[in-house]
Symmetry: C2
Subunit: 330 residues, 2 copies
């Protein structure tokens, strides 16, 4: 299992600019024909777009893409480019009589990475469009790419990471742009806080067990954003449970998480390929369905935490920020 | 009292294109130095931006502008232009060491007016920027302008309207882009549902009391969006009460309101000029403060309803849609 694109029908595209005064980018999770979407927003300083429509009581069910960007609130403009790319292809909520009369549904969240480049160098609509052009179902580049290009985590360089697992026959995937006020590593040992989520030696199987030198003036920028997806058929309210679970993955990976300075936001998507046990008659007729959903949620938390650790370990030094691999060389 | 700009420090700017395949626009409520902001989102099909940060538990308190646009979700791009205009002036949340290191806080909501022009003719960042350029503290143009340019209400043309009142020495103002699935008028009599909110004969003081011919195929597009503002100093949670109250103004003016097809969203701003009674000691030490807030909320509901009626009465026929004044000529 390699990451979010293990969930059938989910594409990921990224675009970033690094160097020449730039250190930012955009990651787009594309589900062109739509997936049932939800969001859980828990950090104290969010920058978001189209999150109200994701509330379970609201009407729009299918999301066409999720746009994750650097650039703080300026980076919300990247979603304009994703909408244009989808609209040109007639993909979106049908809102008129002709095939191109669609309104693409593109919820978005941003992270704060502006100090690492020139202040005016921020993702715009062209970043979102370029990320869509690059989208594929193939392996996802991790580290200093896409929305992780300018990311930091506590004292270190952050980045994009991804992971997936199979549970009860369902594939659960996650992608995260690790960028947090808190730390993801115990500096006394070099061990990531979520190290024990490792599957099949994916993190390298061993940890330095020696102190690392933390930078004198940690960056302390903020906001982890990401997406979990599953190939199950779920209601909007059920999908929201997956976003809630992803935030638990964040809590395990970063200390402190969800601070007043973080805009931590987790989106969730259900592509609808495979059915859960239906709700049967009787007062506990939903018990099997709820039990299965519970297993999917536990998997979402694990996958999100693993994605964040991959973001940490894959990151490379950018804009003078040391990466994990610089402090604890292999 | 003429409208929202009666609240000191609040500016309104509008930009629209009507004709040549266009019928849409943008209305910006500017509070350059910031006002405490909140939102209440109640319609079932919203298109919004930066509403999560307005939740009372989140960190950002001061809003620099609210952007209201046509164009459905595409129109969220107008907020990019408002951010640029503010950022060029160093106005926004301070997020770096230099004066221009600001992130302007621009929550936004959109309404659905796309069928009245060519599908691709939608507000973009340039609309938001142009609306800021046009902003003033003077009287506000009503009817087929700004975000009301392509608006409809049930069978009729909708539009922008505004109103204000003074209560307990506080000025409470509202602006609304009236665009609803429901009707705002009793077609049997020509009387708007919120007619009894009239102050000082502002609606003309008399109603036709005769049936009007409803269009055979009502437009039935959707979403009323707007802003209420007060010159009081309030917490974010207190400001939210004003947004909640504005939605009651909507409920009185449109039937049905808040449908599954409407993205009805009300923002509220408190500019902080005048203090409410402080919270004193004792179990009911907040009683005077709560009582005053209650009066402000009742005023916000009234002002929002009156603003919507002004939007109805000021609207002029556009894109073949009859206006109130066409069905019931004076």
């Amino acid at each position: 299992m390699s990451g979010l694109t293990d969930v059938a029908g989910v594409l990921v595209g990224q675009y970033e600019r690094v160097g020449d005064g730039w250190a930012t980018g955009t990651t787009v999770v594309l589900v062109p024909e739509g997936a049932t979407g939800a969001v859980d927003q828990r950090g104290g300083a969010p920058g978001t777009r189209e999150t109200d429509l994701l509330q379970p009581e609201n009407r729009v069910r299918l999301v066409n893409a999720i746009c994750l960007s650097g650039g703080s609130a300026y980076g919300l403009a990247a979603a304009d480019g994703v909408m244009r790319w989808l609209g040109e292809r007639g993909l979106g909520f049908p809102a008129g009589k002709l095939p191109h009369h669609v309104v693409p549904i593109v919820p978005a969240a941003v992270l704060f990475d502006l100090p690492h480049g020139d202040w005016g160098n921020r993702p715009d609509a062209a970043f979102g469009y370029a990320a869509c052009e690059a989208a594929s179902a193939g392996p996802i580049a991790q580290g200093t790419v896409g929305a992780g290009a300018g990311a930091t985590v506590g004292s270190l360089k952050g980045g994009i990471g991804t992971a997936s697992e199979v549970v009860e026959g369902f594939t659960v995937g996650a992608i995260a742009a690790l960028n947090a006020y808190g730390e993801a590593v115990d500096f006394a040992t070099g061990r990531p806080f979520a190290a024990d989520h490792e599957v099949d030696g994916e993190f390298g199987g061993q940890w330095p067990d020696r102190p690392g030198a933390a930078p004198a003036a940690p960056a302390r920028f903020n906001t982890t954003i990401g997406v979990v997806a599953v190939d199950a058929a779920l209601s909007k309210a059920e999908v929201k449970r997956l976003a809630v679970a992803a935030q638990d993955g964040m809590a395990r990976t970063v200390r402190p998480a969800h601070t007043m300075y973080d805009g931590d936001t987790a989106f969730a998507l259900a592509t609808g390929e495979r059915e859960l046990p239906p709700i049967g008659p009787g007062r506990l007729g939903d018990a099997d369905r709820v039990a299965t959903l519970n297993l999917l949620c536990a998997a979402a938390a694990r996958a999100f935490a693993r994605a964040m650790v991959h973001g940490l370990l894959s990151a490379t030094s950018t804009a003078g920020l040391p990466a994990y691999r610089d402090v604890w060389p292999a």
